[in-house]
């Protein structure tokens, strides 16, 4: 509607200006017409907008690809930004589904009371990841206390934990990220605990993974689906009871830093979102979850 008004106003202004300005007017009118043909104004198109955690994003993006084929007229857009963005977006009505890779904080629960339905669609481990060089230098296992000490700045050199000599690049995450909440709760005692020993702060899982991989001496917190050859997970725990973030260890509960990946579905904006979540929870959806590298919910 607004565009129409703008166009009309522009066209009237042109009309009060005499003819003879053919070149310019023709150019403008053709562009206007093109736009009006190609960008029709506010169709009532069914839409599902999703935003939030970058840990959940691969699952939703993959599922969206399949879901769109089943529902051709549907508009399904996906954005990242982190669990904090997921909560804020759905709270402010910007999206139909918010992706959150952690539990809601008490204040968030109060804010979202009655507005959303939380559904877990997958499970995931938060890996404590180190650069390949560090891993191959001997750091295969870290206790929770050691990780905490690193993030508090008490341990500064890899040789203090069985690795090669070298300063530790401690990579923290933005404080509203789901991965960080989960990590901080287990390692530092509270979801919103500070990490005075942090060297840099990254945002998405992608950014963190890249930072760990490009450094030779980094430690960071990553969703386990992002591990690869250059970014290795250390086993977490005391000497002989250290546990790697594998699927079995998440399933049997022995890996301590794990979480459910949640979708917050708006209760006030129609069926579309709920149907999509149902799809994700179906067998096909859960198979997609596994394909992308996560654990199904059951």
């Amino acid at each position: 509607m607004a565009v129409c008004k703008v166009c009309l106003a522009w066209a009237t202004q042109l009309n009060t200006i005499d003819k003879g300005m053919d070149k310019m007017r023709h150019r403008l009118l053709t562009i206007l017409l093109l736009l009006m043909v190609l960008v029709p104004v506010a169709q009532a198109v069914e839409q599902i907008r999703v935003a939030g955690s970058t840990s959940v994003l691969p699952i939703v993006a993959e599922a969206a690809k399949h879901y769109r084929q089943l529902h051709p007229g549907l508009s399904l857009t996906v954005s990242g930004g982190g669990s904090g963005v997921g909560v804020a977006s759905i709270d402010q009505g910007l999206v139909e589904i918010g992706m959150v890779s952690r539990e809601l904080t008490t204040s968030e629960k109060i804010r979202l009371q009655g507005k959303v339905k939380q559904m877990a669609v997958a499970r995931d481990a938060v890996a404590v990841a180190v650069s390949k060089v560090v891993y191959e230098g001997g750091v295969r296992r870290l206790s929770l206390a050691q990780i905490a000490a690193i993030y508090r700045g008490e341990i500064k050199n890899w040789n203090q934990v069985g690795g090669p000599d070298g300063r530790i690049l401690v990579i923290d995450k933005e404080s509203s990220r789901g991965t960080r909440h989960v990590f901080a709760k287990m390692v530092l005692g509270s979801e919103t605990a500070r990490a005075p020993g942090a060297t840099i702060v990254t945002g998405s899982n992608n950014e963190e993974q890249a930072a760990i991989a490009n450094s030779g001496r980094a430690i960071g917190m990553l969703s386990h689906a992002w591990l690869n050859d250059a970014v290795r997970a250390v086993a977490v725990g005391e000497a002989d009871k250290a546990v790697l973030p594998t699927f079995e260890n998440v399933t049997n509960g022995s890996y301590p830093i794990q979480r459910q990946l949640n979708l917050l579905v708006s209760e006030t904006s129609g069926e579309a979102g709920h149907l999509f979540v149902d799809f994700l929870l179906s067998d096909q959806g859960q198979r997609l979850v596994q394909q992308v590298g996560y654990l199904p919910v059951r």
């Binding site: 982190g82 804010r111 690049l169 933005e174 919103t192 942090a198 060297t199 840099i200």
Partner: protein, 275 residues
């Protein structure tokens, strides 16, 4: 009828700035309400603990912009002088053209350069734990504002009227004296504009800085340490604007950072326009 539409347009344009300023002030108000003016000198930023310190980003922005100017102004000015005074016509055209192309490079592309070229370079050459630092931000900003400084300064120097140059030569001034005593002082207003424009651009640059500065909301230890990760006004806004709920104190703090940016920028602009 025509007059009505035209007045309406002009008024709208004039009011935009009032609207933006009004918004910035109104949206920052919750922060002032809950914290008074203490947040300006608060050295800590941690929204979960209601700490909304402005100091780390003020220091960060200050250092990165200062470094950028320190690096870009001398060399940009020298290049401008080179272009205006020493190069033949072809060279002048080529240089000016390439600088204008450079000035148009989007900042996100500089971000790529910074992240994938500059950071590894810094880490290996300076043996840093991480290249993400105020130094990286400053270098990248210097690269970004260089074309601006060069293009505007060159135009200013080139605009110095022929008669002045000829008179200088007639008076027996050699090239360097002519440059220093006639050309530069005459071109100074234009050069000043160039520098202030560049400063404005450096201060307001978001994406490139966000990617390379380290985003650590902490004061550098010691205060002049440019080799540490830090945070700037723009980087903070860029990273957190989507996750703060509009209306919350966190949001107000972000808007306050934006207000600071806007106020400083407008003050600079007024400086350009006076004198």
């Amino acid at each position: 009828m025509l007059r009505f539409w035209l007045s309406f347009s002009a008024l709208s344009t004039a009011l935009v700035i009032a609207a933006v300023l009004g918004f910035l002030l109104q949206a920052s108000w919750p922060l002032l309400q809950s914290q008074g003016l203490g947040f300006v000198t608060e050295p800590d930023w941690y929204p979960y603990e209601a700490l909304y310190g402005l100091l780390p980003v003020l220091v960060g922005s200050f250092w990165s912009v200062s470094l950028a100017l320190l690096l870009a102004v001398p060399t940009g000015l020298a290049a401008a002088i080179l272009c205006a005074e020493l190069l033949p016509a072809h060279g002048r055209y080529l240089l000016r053209f390439s600088m204008e192309v450079m000035a148009g490079i989007p900042s996100v592309v500089y971000g790529l350069l910074g992240l994938w070229l500059l950071l590894p370079l810094l880490e290996s050459q300076l043996d840093l734990l991480t290249g993400r630092s105020l130094l990286a931000a400053g270098l990248l900003l210097a690269l970004m504002i260089l074309p601006t400084i060069m293009v505007f300064s060159e135009a200013a120097i080139g605009a110095v009227v022929r008669e002045q140059r000829e008179t200088a030569s007639l008076l027996g001034l050699d090239w360097s004296a002519r440059l220093l005593r006639v050309l530069l002082p005459q071109a100074w207003p234009g050069i000043r504009v160039a520098v202030l424009l560049a400063l404005g651009r450096a201060m307001g640059e978001t994406v490139a800085v966000m990617l390379v500065v380290g985003s650590l909301d902490r004061l550098p230890q010691p205060l002049y340490n440019l080799l540490q990760p830090a945070q700037t006004l723009t980087s903070r806004i860029g990273r957190e604007m989507a996750e703060a709920s509009v209306g919350s104190v966190h949001w107000a703090a972000l808007v306050a950072s934006g207000l600071t940016l806007a106020v400083v920028a407008m003050a600079l602009s007024l400086l350009v326009q006076r004198r």
